[in-house]
Amino acid sequence: MESLPYYRPRSLIDAFELLAAVSDARWIAGGTDLLVQARKRSQSCGLISLRSIEELGNITTEPDGGLRIGAAMVLSDVRKNRAVRKSCPVLCEAIDVLGSRQIRNVATLGGNLCNASPAADTAPALLALDARVELVSADSRRELPLHDFILGPGKTALKVGEILSALLVPSQLESGACGQAFIRKGRVKMDLAIVSLAVSLSMDGDRCRDIRVAAGAVAPVPLRLIAAEDLLRDTELDDVAIAAAKESAMATVSPIDDQRASAFYRRQLVGVFLERAVRRAAGLAGGESV
C-alpha cells in the first residue's frame, strides 16, 4: 500500500502546484493541533508542509510602521522579534502562555488561528491589535479583518486552495502613550484557557483616547467587546466607567460550562480581567516608554 506523502515545498508556487497535483492533501505548519486531531480521528491524507516557505516565515515592517508577520513563523521566533516586542507586547504576553516551550518552538500563528479554537491564545491579542489576515491562493490575494476570519469553533473563512499567509498588524505607535495587557487563566499553565482577555489602549494624558478589548474562551469565537470599549473610550478610566464596562462585557459574552470551568465562573473572570487589564495597560501607557 502506498504510504501517505509528506511534501516540503520551498515556495508558494511549488506549494500550490502540489495542492493541485495531489489528491486529498492538507496544509501543515507546526502540526501541533493537526497531528493530534488526525490521530484522534484516524484521519489520513497527504501533507504539504509550509515550514520551508520563506515568504511565510519572516516578519517585515511596513513603511507606516505596521508589521507583516509570516503565518508560518514559529511562535518562539515571533516572540523574539524586536519589532514585535516593541509594538505588540500583548501578543508577546499571549505567546508566553501558549502551551509549552516545546509547543512554541514548532507552533505558528497561522495554525493557531486556522484551528479556530474559541480559546485560541493568540486571537484575543491579535484582535486587540486590530490585525488583519492575508489569504492567498494560486491566483488570488485578499485581506480580512481577523474577526471576519474566525467564524465558529474550528471554522474559518479560508477557502479551499487558500493559505493564511500573513498577519497584518497595523502600526500601534501613535502620538500619546500606549499600553497593552493580556491576562489568561487556565487550571495549570499548560491548559486551554478558561478565560483570556487582551487590551490595547492609547491615552491622552488622563483620558483614554482609544481602546480595544478582546476576550477568548467565553464565546464560540474569540471576540472584541465593542460595547465595553465604547464605555471606556474618551473617559478617564474612572471607577464608574470601568464598572459599566465590566457589566457590559459580562453581559456580552456567552461562556459555557465544561470540564475546565463553569459559565458563571468564566463570566465573573471576564469582568475581573477587564478591570485588571485596563488598569495595567493604562499604567503602562502613563509612565513608561513603550
Binding site: S3, L4, P5, R8, N105, V106, K189
Partner: protein, 160 residues
C-alpha cells in the same frame, strides 16, 4: 514510497530511510534504536519525548521526521561524554534525587539542556515555567527543580 533523510544525530552524520509521515520519535526509537526518548502521551502534552532540534526543545511525538533533514538533533543519548561520563545535568539529577521511575527523566533533562542554554542562571520560578511542558507522576517536581538549579550552579562554577 520512502524518504531519505540526512541529518546530524548527537554530533554524528546519520542517514535514515523513513515513511514520509513518520514521527521523529518513531524514527529515533525504532529506526535508529535510540530508545532513551520516551512516548508518554503521543499528543505533545507530557514532554517525555522531548529532544532538541537545532538547539530547540520540541516534542518528537508531534515532529515529522521528514523535517529533520539537514538539521542537528540531540537526544538523551548524546549527553554523556563518550557515552560513559554523565554530563553535569545528568549528575545533578542523580545527586538531587530527581529521578524515581525515570520515565519522564530523559525529557526533563533535555528540557533542562534547552533552558540552561538560553538562561544559565534561572530562578526557581523560571525553572518551573520551563518545565510547563514536562509532566512527572512520581516526584512532585521538587527534587527535579533542585536538580536543575544544582546543574545551573555546577555549570556556572565550571566556567569561572
Amino acid at each position: 514510497m520512502s524518504l531519505h533523510i540526512q541529518f546530524e544525530l548527537n554530533g554524528r552524520s546519520t542517514q535514515a530511510k523513513i515513511e514520509p509521515q513518520a514521527r521523529l520519535i518513531d524514527t529515533l526509537r525504532e529506526t535508529l534504536s535510540h530508545t532513551g526518548t520516551k512516548e508518554g502521551c503521543g499528543e505533545g502534552e507530557c514532554g517525555a519525548c522531548t529532544v532538541l532540534v537545532d538547539g530547540r526543545v520540541i516534542n518528537s511525538c508531534l515532529y515529522p521526521a521528514a523535517e529533520i533533514d539537514g538539521a542537528e538533533v540531540t537526544t538523551i543519548e548524546g549527553l554523556a561524554e563518550g557515552g560513559r561520563h554523565l554530563s553535569p545535568i545528568q549528575s545533578a539529577f542523580l545527586e538531587s534525587g530527581g529521578v524515581q521511575c525515570g520515565f519522564c527523566t530523559p525529557g526533563m533533562i533535555m528540557t533542562t539542556v534547552g533552558l540552561l542554554g538560553e538562561n544559565p542562571d534561572p530562578s526557581e520560578e523560571e525553572v518551573r515555567d520551563a518545565l510547563t511542558g514536562n509532566l512527572c507522576r512520581c516526584t512532585g517536581y521538587v527534587q527535579i527543580v533542585d536538580a536543575i538549579r544544582l546543574a545551573a550552579r555546577t555549570l556556572q562554577e565550571g566556567k569561572s
